[in-house]
């Protein structure tokens, strides 16, 4: 099964790669890339620690997912019934409009559209003269994930496809069974509230709005994509509308926190300074080892 999972990740990487290249040409423009020629190394050193931070949170969440789930069953509150009591059969109603084409459309948005939404801003903001937006983005992602994880531990919630299988089908898994390998590798079916898909998608749109003068086309692309992701999470029976609302609130909070805490310049950013120091010490160690040979 490892091979199947790997091939799925490769598929994902390939498609995202192509989309990012196209997006870079059409939305960012070759000009910006040419402009920073020669600065790649310097910039990368400055943003690497921020990427590492996001990677660390992701890595820890994977590591702790099993433990977190057990803790969740111990201390968490089972709110599936409450959510259903609040919102009723909204998702079931959405699925009454289901067609095979719509299902494939939303599946592709949910998997590929979403991944592209998350990756592209990192590329687009990397080539800006000021790296602050990049830092804000990675911080926003980190806050989203961290707060999301706390919510997952505190709340146990199954999605509509698990709660009311008579009315809500797992449309994505019926259309593309193998993708379940990927989705269950990343998340657990009790972690439905809040919708991290929603929160990260809305985060990207909020940031796109903030950079709307620099990248007007990005806002025009990101917004419908994000709306598509939000609809997809419900249409595919994975999330309740309540989760989407919760995710939106989480996005606002995360972006606010990120804007608040991101340093104005690279020199002031503690993460950048820490990262640069770490890279410097690694490089000097390598040089010493090299020299001693």
């Amino acid at each position: 099964m490892r091979v199947a999972l790997l091939s799925l990740y490769l598929q994902l990487a390939l498609v995202i790669g192509v989309l990012v290249v196209v997006g870079s040409l059409l939305i960012v423009g070759r000009g910006r890339f040419r402009h920073i020629q020669g600065e790649y190394r310097r910039r990368f050193r400055r943003i690497a620690p921020h990427l590492a931070l996001v990677g660390l949170v992701l890595f820890l969440s994977t590591l702790l997912r099993r433990v977190g789930t057990e803790v969740s069953w111990l201390v968490g509150r089972n709110i599936t019934g409450t959510i259903h009591a609040i919102e009723g059969d909204l998702v079931a109603w959405m699925q009454t409009f289901a067609t095979v084409e719509l299902t494939w459309f939303f599946t592709l948005i949910y998997i590929f559209g979403y991944a592209f939404l998350l990756v592209f801003p990192l590329v687009a903001y990397f080539v800006l003269p000021d790296l602050r937006m990049f830092r804000v983005t990675t911080l926003a992602y980190t806050f989203n994930y961290a707060i999301g994880l706390v919510c997952y531990t505190l709340f146990i919630a199954f999605g509509p496809r698990n709660f009311m299988p008579d009315e809500v089908e797992s449309l994505m898994y019926v259309a593309w069974p193998q993708i379940e390998l990927l989705t269950t590798h990343i998340n657990v079916n009790t972690n439905v509230f809040p919708s991290l898909h929603t929160s990260l998608a809305v985060t990207v749109v909020l940031l796109a709005w903030a950079t709307r003068r620099t990248y007007p086309r990005w806002l025009a692309v990101a917004t419908p994509l994000a709306v598509g992701v939000l609809i997809a999470t419900m249409y595919l029976g994975i999330h309740w509308a309540t989760d989407v609302v919760g995710g939106t609130v989480l996005a606002v909070v995360a972006v606010w926190l990120a804007q608040r805490f991101a340093a104005d310049t690279g020199e002031e950013s503690p993460i950048t300074r820490l990262g640069l120091a770490a890279i410097a010490s690694v490089e000097s160690t390598i040089r010493r080892l090299h020299g001693s040979q």
Binding site: M1, R66, W73, G81, F158, N162, F163, D166, E180
Partner: protein, 595 residues
């Protein structure tokens, strides 16, 4: 003096007025207070609230849907119903161990003999864990009958078991819903011989033929990942029907082809000594555990002692293994005589029933003895009534079964290999080689966790796996039909779906209410919509066996608790009138009120 008199008169009159007034006030006040007390003490009728507990659709979509159906109809008759979904192992913990439920919907593990009804319903098991009377049900007549059937045989026993079924369907401590078909996908190109035994029976792995010398690895798909987390044969939360542990661990006898047949035991003999049934059992020679240690009568004696009390008398009260409880509760004593002889005594049990006890997995003493202590969490004793034996994950299981443990990756896969020194290969009895073959048909069994039934069929079609061990949903059948490699396999099962009641909580402690709960279940409709027709509606847990009572055969509707409605629509008025007849009351908004 008139003034004084008058003076006196007025105050006296006033006092009189005051006193009589105050008396009057006091009188009416106390009357008022008394009224208040009467009104306050009288319980304000509240709506009946019931919580239905089951697993999410990812774990067992049939259970979820049956629970939703019940929830919907309970809502219609004015009960405030909450549906609580709990992950499968957590469900077992909450329902079967902690008994934390009002109603649960689940599937009973496959049974081998009607005696399973004894631990399921006898009142003396109400305090125990696992599938031992989770309903906390007490009925003295039923208790007697359950004890009776144990000591009887043949037609006599059949009659008693028939009465028991009628009792159960009248009082509904639980409601049986349907007997599902077991749907699986199999391919025959690399390994064949699957048809000899129902898939799911461990023996189905032992009757295979290798279609080509190069086929070394039998690849199995399972949608339940619990076998990759825990291989403890006596764990309640982690076992479904015990197929894999039934291959890792062996027993004195196994039940197949309609009878209990010698397995690790070569032969046994029953005799009656003054009311006590005694079995003299002889083990085969040269039996070994997977690590080469000799398996002797001492191990047998230890196993039965241990399953009866996993704390080995270290606690005030015995802590038996909830699994196999029905079988081990038949045994009153076990004695090892020499290396290969075992003497087993049973109280008030006919040989026909006593044979059940021989199908229990044998455990190696030197490993399990050390697990008789209390379960600990980080070195601190966690609970008084749970031994380590019940919660250990038994990560590297050591048994005497035809397959042995090789490797496992939690959540992903489990690898087993044939045990070369198993008696089936070293010393098979005459007719056994016809059924089981002299040599193993594979060099290893790789069990992979697959995410869903659809994924399983895809993998089978791609040639990545050879068979699905987990049962699949009827929705995969079209995909199986379209596949070239995957073949459809449908077996009848004995794993009925049931709605279990906590008979100690109101209003479920009222058998009339329970009967009505049974009657708001449209079993035929459920079979159609939930199982796509791949199930049978049933009125008795023994449906499909020769033990079924004639009057409980399904004839279009439940003969004892028929659905109160037509064409799938509940007749709410009819149900309300039935409830009213039983003394229930309804509120202004149609809510069913608590008494």
């Amino acid at each position: 003096m008139s003034e004084t008199g008058e003076e006196h008169g007025r105050p006296m009159r006033r006092r009189a007025v005051l006193s009589s007034a105050s008396l009057a006030v006091a009188g009416s006040m106390s009357g008022c207070l008394r009224r208040m007390r009467t009104l306050m003490d009288a319980e304000t009728p509240e709506q009946v609230t019931i919580e239905i507990k089951t697993v999410p659709s990812d774990d067992d979509t049939a259970a979820t849907q049956i629970a939703r159906h019940l929830e919907g109809n309970l809502d219609k008759i004015g009960v405030h119903t909450d549906l609580v979904l709990v992950r499968e192992d957590e469900f077992h913990r909450e329902v079967l161990i902690n008994r934390d439920f009002d109603i649960f919907v689940g599937q009973y593990p496959p049974y081998d003999d009607p005696d399973f009804l004894r631990p399921l319903l006898h009142s003396r098991f109400g305090n125990e864990q696992g599938w031992q009377n989770p309903f906390d049900y007490t009925d003295l007549t039923l208790d007697e009958a359950l004890e009776d059937q144990r000591g009887n045989a043949g037609d006599e026993r059949r009659g008693i078991v028939g009465d028991i079924q009628m009792d159960i369907s009248r009082d509904q401590p639980f409601t049986v819903v349907a007997m599902p078909d077991e749907i699986r996908a199999v391919s025959h190109d690399r390994f064949d011989g699957w048809r000899r035994f129902p898939l799911g029976n461990p023996l189905s792995f032992l009757s295979l033929d290798r279609m080509d010398e190069s086929n070394t690895s039998l690849r199995v798909g399972m949608t339940d990942d619990r076998v990759t987390q825990n291989l403890n044969p006596i764990s309640v939360e982690f076992r479904r029907r015990g197929t894999i542990t039934g291959l890792l661990y062996d027993s004195l006898a196994r039940r197949y082809d309609g009878a209990v047949r010698p397995w690790l035991a070569d032969e046994w003999e029953f005799r009656n000594e003054g009311g006590t049934t005694i079995a003299s059992i002889t083990l085969r020679g040269g039996l070994q555990w997977h690590d080469g240690t000799a398996l002797t009568a001492d191990d047998v004696a230890f196993t039965y002692e241990f399953l009866e009390d996993t704390s080995l008398s270290q606690r005030d009260a015995p802590i038996p293994s909830p699994r196999f409880r029905g079988r081990t509760s038949l045994v009153t004593g076990v004695q090892a005589i020499g290396d290969r002889e075992v003497r087993m005594t049973f109280a008030e049990t006919s040989p026909e029933v006593a044979e059940r006890a021989l199908t229990v997995p044998l455990l190696p003493e030197w490993i399990w003895e050390g697990r008789s202590g209390g379960a600990e969490l980080g070195g601190v004793s966690a609970a008084e009534h749970i031994t380590e034996a019940l919660v250990t994950s038994n990560a590297e299981p050591l048994g005497a079964g035809p397959l042995q443990f090789e490797d496992s990756v939690a959540g992903e896969e489990l690898v087993l290999s044939p045990f070369e020194d198993h008696f089936l290969h070293t010393n098979p009895p005459e007719n056994y080689t016809d059924t089981f073959g002299a040599a193993p048909a594979f060099d290893e069994v790789v069990i992979s966790v697959v995410r869903s039934g659809d994924a399983a069929v895809q993998l089978l079609d791609d040639g990545a796996i050879d068979v699905t061990l987990s049962t699949l949903n009827a929705s995969v059948i079209p995909a199986i039909g379209q596949s070239e490699r995957a073949g459809l396999r449908v077996d009848r099962s004995r794993q009925f779906y049931l709605v279990g009641f906590n008979t100690q909580t109101g209003p479920l402690n009222n058998p009339h209410f329970r009967r009505i709960c049974a009657q708001i279940l449209d079993k035929e409709g459920i079979v159609d919509e939930v199982f796509d027709g791949f199930a049978r509606p049933i009125a008795s847990p023994l449906d499909g066996t020769r033990w079924l009572h004639d009057e409980l055969e399904w004839d279009g509707e439940d003969p004892v608790v028929p659905f109160l409605g037509t064409e799938g629509e509940l007749d709410v008025e009819h149900v309300r009138s039935q409830l009213t007849e039983q003394g229930f009351e309804f509120g202004a908004g149609g809510e069913l009120l608590r008494r």
